[in-house]
């Protein structure tokens, strides 16, 4: 960044720089922890002036769908004669939607969850359900932080970096 009258950057630029650095580091941490994978980056590239709320809408729909599916899994597992086929169908759907938004950890959990359904292991299925719930909450919180950083960058006059 070029200096300002030979001195350090104007405060606004320094703030933007810091926000951008924070954002890049945060995205890298999400990838490192496999919370998000490259598919999320591909979706970010689809957002533009003609589609400014694309990511927000996609993520909102994902969480609406995941909450519904998790509820349905819980209901199926709680039945006296557990309907493993229903649970498996729901997990299968969640696997598809989570992979489509780049939610890698949720997707990988679903793969294991499906194995537990096939084995008709109720205890493991319940544990998987709990973990899926926790992962979805974690993902929501992480994405909220990410979107907050994005808003701050835009408010500071910058644009969101996309790989």
């Amino acid at each position: 960044m070029s200096g300002f009258h030979g001195h350090s950057q104007p405060p606004a630029m320094a703030v933007l720089d810091q926000l951008l650095r924070q954002y890049v580091e945060y995205m890298e941490s999400l990838r490192r922890e496999s919370i998000l994978d490259d598919q999320f980056t591909q979706l970010q590239k689809l957002q533009d002036e003609s589609n400014p709320d694309f990511i927000d809408e996609v993520i909102t729909l994902f969480f609406q769908d995941s909450e519904r599916l998790i509820c349905s899994m819980g209901t199926a597992l709680a039945k006296r004669n557990v309907d493993y086929k229903q649970v498996d169908d729901d997990v299968h759907q969640l696997k598809g939607s989570s992979s489509s938004i780049g939610a890698a950890r949720v997707k990988n959990l679903c793969v294991f969850f499906r194995d537990c359904c096939e084995a008709k292991n109720l205890e493991k299925c319940y544990r998987c359900l709990q973990e899926v719930q926790q992962e979805c909450v974690l993902l929501k919180n992480k994405l909220n932080t990410l979107f907050m950083l994005q808003k701050q960058i835009v408010a500071a006059g910058g644009s969101i970096p996309v790989d």
């Binding site: 590239k45 759907q93 939607s97």
Partner: protein
């Protein structure tokens, strides 16, 4: 962001997206639209809607279709479309990852089958293959 929306591909494609999840339809639609103005898209929320669209005389060069859907799933819809004589390229996009799960879908009449997520690379592969064979 992605380059100009004028046209990244030369040929015109009329594409149908069939999936019961609104979020997936939205994503697949945006992915296809990112290839430019030569790609026209339409969406259907299940296999029956897709079959009815084709029955009404609409023609699609490519149909991207999910496997698990209510009312009419991807396997039934693909079989029905082929019985109707629909010659579109039909590409399954499914969360299924085992041969046992994918086999009936392919045998129903798919030209290609991919595991989700749908990506630009997979779409490009289909466009190029269809253009080459078409």
């Amino acid at each position: 962001m992605e380059g100009s929306k004028s046209s990244i591909i030369e040929k015109k494609f009329n594409v149908l997206i069939v999936d019961d999840a609104p979020g997936i339809r939205m994503m697949h639609n945006a992915l296809l639209k990112s290839f430019g103005s030569n790609v026209e898209t339409q969406v259907a929320e299940n296999g029956k809607v897709a079959v009815d669209l084709c029955n009404s005389g609409k023609y699609f060069d490519i149909i991207f279709i999910d496997k698990h859907m209510p009312i009419m799933d991807g396997v039934q819809a693909t079989r029905k479309l082929r019985e109707m004589g629909v010659a579109s390229v039909i590409v399954g996009i499914t969360s299924c990852d085992t041969d046992d799960e994918v086999k009936p879908f392919v045998e129903a009449g798919l030209n290609e089958c991919f595991e989700k997520p749908l990506t630009r690379e997979k779409i490009k592969f289909v466009f190029e293959k269809f253009h080459k064979d078409g």
